[in-house]
């Protein structure tokens, strides 16, 4: 154990022995990338199949607070990038991880974040194969910022996308919406509100796999992160040139999320999720997908929340339980900064 410091100092970013010790002990010892060279050289049999495609994605994570009920920034960074890959139909294989660390960050916190990344990656059968650390002066970042890139392989014949969505398709989500956004709001302690909610943060590779197996004609999938389900659906409605109609009574919401939104005047459809996706499935295959999803813990709350329609292209509407109907528009501005 060469690393004796309890907090990250500028020396840990200086390129010398301190940096080497930090990287070796905190990062590479846990991630165990293949070989110790900076550049990962990789091979996977799936890549050699004719018609297979490479999926490549990147995302930065700046959530505050860094640890919250149900997860931390590390879990978020791994799951978020895995989810980006799987909703495109890819099997995630490799991740990179870049860390911007504020001077003064507790090394114990860093270890917890890294451990949680390794745990999530292993559970999803993904390897973190390359990375980078930078240390910046106090105030130049807030704790730890993480950027992950992900590479996966899309099997030949798998082609998901908004252009495949058709009028009549069922719109399915895998569980209650807005939990993550509500947890972050409560965890910041700005409202003096306490909840027993936990973030929905989860990797969605299994649920996506199950859905694809149950619905061979699955049209499209999207992870509902920042901007919530409302933003994801609006984007897809625009891309597909079709309308969407939600049934308010069928949208799964936890009572605590609903209550928090009532108190704070927020709309849960715009709250962030980190373990929720929306699927578009031909109506006749919807029941099969639901059954398959319900068999997994991350799909226990799956529900059909509405349908695609030919009318009002590009627009999402919601039928209220009182009988009225309203437009569910894109999120304007920010409901809350730094949720992911």
């Amino acid at each position: 154990m060469a690393l004796r410091d309890s907090h990250v100092t500028m020396a840990h970013g200086g390129g010398g022995r301190a940096m080497r010790d930090l990287i070796a002990e905190v990062f590479t010892a846990v991630f165990q990338p293949p070989g110790m060279e900076d550049q990962a050289r990789l091979m996977d049999a799936a890549l050699q199949e004719p018609g297979a495609r490479l999926a490549f994605t990147t995302d930065g994570y700046v959530v505050s607070p860094m640890e919250f009920p149900g997860g931390d920034i590390g879990k978020l960074a791994v799951c978020g990038t895995i989810n980006d890959l799987v909703v495109g139909g890819a099997r995630p294989l490799w991740l990179s991880a870049g860390f911007i660390i504020e001077e003064g960050t507790e090394i114990a916190l860093l270890r917890r974040i890294v451990a949680s990344m390794a745990r999530e990656a292993e559970a999803a059968g993904v390897r973190i194969v390359t990375g980078d650390t930078k240390v910046v002066e106090r105030g130049a970042a807030d704790g730890v910022f993480v950027t992950t890139c992900g590479v996966g392989v899309i099997a030949p014949g798998c082609d998901l996308g908004a252009r495949h969505i058709r009028a009549g398709d069922a719109i399915i989500v895998n569980g209650s919406l807005g939990d993550h956004g509500a947890v972050i709001m409560a965890a910041r302690g700005e409202f003096a509100l306490e909840t027993e909610l936990t973030s929905d943060c989860a990797a969605l590779h299994r649920i996506m796999h199950a859905a694809l197996a149950a619905a061979p004609d699955l049209r499209a999938a999207r992870d509902c992160t920042r901007g919530g389900i409302a933003s994801a659906l609006n984007e897809l409605a625009t891309e597909a040139g079709l309308g969407m109609v939600l049934e308010e009574a069928q949208v799964p919401l936890r009572a605590q999320v609903r209550g928090l939104c009532e108190i704070l005047g927020l709309d849960p459809l715009y709250l962030a999720n980190e373990g929720r996706l929306v699927l578009f499935v031909p109506e006749e295959q919807a029941q099969g997908v639901l059954t398959a999803m319900h068999a997994l813990p991350e799909g226990a709350g799956a529900a059909v929340i509405g349908h695609v329609v030919a009318a009002h292209p590009g627009q999402v509407r919601m039928h209220g339980s009182l009988g009225g109907s309203r437009i569910v528009d894109m999120l304007i501005g920010d409901q809350l900064p730094r949720i992911c």
Binding site: E190, F191, V245, A255, R258, G259, E262, G265, A311, H312, Q315, R317, G320, S321, L322, G323, G324, S325, R326, I327, D329, I332, G333
Partner: protein, 379 residues
């Protein structure tokens, strides 16, 4: 949530909607000759659109959206003054989030923040007080904004600052009151309102008696209402019953929350800290007598207007004219619908608002836009 869902009960809503239709027929209200009911409060406007009540009620009901959105009626000069204070050396300017994007002549607080001013969003003046405690070498200013609902909490914050001797804390006071603009609206000879729905949370503080003049002097019914769909539908029924029976009274639909005489502790704090200004400017409505509050001289140390020499504390407030083509005033007085404004959806959208009614979620234009009054009737 148990206590919310029962106020969203579809069966009860259906029953009340039938009652409204029956009363409309009895009065002879039609699409061509509707009963005009003003919901004074922006919170009510938002709820009406969110639950689609405007489309569910009988076509003989027309909701006129009143001036009860504090962000919407804030004159541009006051936004400019906020920015002037926020950009002073050493100032931490704290504000409710909804005020961040309201455009003044020199842009919005959000733009000032991007230029380098230390502007922080808070959820309560008590949060601002805490920032002042933690930053004794900085001047912490809270943007006091709102009606009788938020006035008590800034009064409590000022009282606490005085008790603690927290002289680096001050409030830029823009508190306004509900009854005065209603009096101004009722005094307008072109006024066609038949009745009012009053803001329940305001009456939670001031009680129902400050509205007596509406019934007694102007002969119009007013029903103080809660914010759930069932509350609103029931209060429409109550207004219609008064119209049908030729009565004009102040009625309380929200009795589960609103005591007739309000909240004495809050009223006492308001009276201790604030006094009425002779007059205050309302965006779109102009100067209205005795409609604004200022901090009493006893608490001058906590009055940002006095401390920084701006606004009514300076030579006098400047009047900043509305941007060209902005019809917020006409919308706010119910003369036109948001969609009739020439800038609606063109020069003025929620992303790039020209007028304040497009900024706040309680503004009539933003509500129209968000919930679809904008682009044709929803199915």
């Amino acid at each position: 949530m148990k206590h919310v869902t029962e106020f969203r009960d579809p069966a009860l809503a259906k029953f009340l909607l039938a009652d409204i239709a029956r009363l409309c027929d009895q009065i002879g209200a039609t699409r061509e000759k509707p009963v005009h009911i003003m919901e004074i409060c922006g919170g009510h406007t938002h709820a009406i659109f969110r639950f689609g009540l405007d489309k569910l009620v009988h076509e003989g009901i027309e909701f006129i959206h009143g001036p009860g959105c504090p962000v919407c009626v804030l004159p541009m000069s006051r936004v400019d003054e906020c920015i002037e204070i926020a950009e002073r050396e050493g100032v931490i300017f704290t504000t409710f989030g909804d005020a961040m994007r309201v455009p003044g002549a020199r842009g919005s607080l959000m733009q000032a923040k991007a230029r380098g001013a230390d502007i922080r969003m808070v959820y309560s003046p008590l949060d601002a007080l805490e920032i002042a405690r933690r930053n004794p070498d900085r001047e912490v200013v809270f943007f006091g904004l709102g009606f009788e609902t938020t006035t008590p909490s800034t009064a409590f914050a000022i009282q606490a600052a005085a008790r603690e001797g927290l002289f680096n804390f001050s409030v830029f006071c823009n508190h306004i009151t509900v009854p005065e603009p209603i009096r101004a609206l009722l005094g307008d000879p072109h006024m066609t309102l038949d009745g009012f729905i009053g803001p329940g949370h305001v009456s939670m503080v001031i009680g129902t008696h400050p509205y007596d003049f509406i019934a007694q002097e102007f002969g119009k019914p007013i029903v103080v209402a809660g914010f759930e769909p069932i509350d609103l539908l029931q209060s429409v029924v109550m207004v219609l019953r008064q119209v049908a029976e030729g009565r004009a009274e102040v009625e309380n639909q929200y009795a589960r929350v609103v005591p007739e005489h309000g909240n004495p502790a809050s009223m006492a704090a308001i009276a201790d800290v604030y006094e009425r200004r002779p007059s205050f400017e309302w965006r779109g409505l102009g100067e209205i007598d005795a409609s604004g509050l200022r901090i009493r001289p006893d608490y001058a140390a906590f009055d940002a207007e006095a401390k920084f020499g701006v606004g009514y504390g300076a030579a006098g407030p400047r009047h900043v004219p509305e941007p060209e083509g902005c019809a917020c005033g006409a919308v706010m007085t119910g003369r036109i619908k948001p969609t009739a404004c020439p800038q609606y959806g063109l020069g003025c959208t929620p992303e790039t608002p020209l007028g304040a009614l497009m900024v706040s979620s309680e503004g009539a234009c933003a509500a129209y836009w968000q919930y679809g009054g904008a682009r044709g009737a929803a199915a």
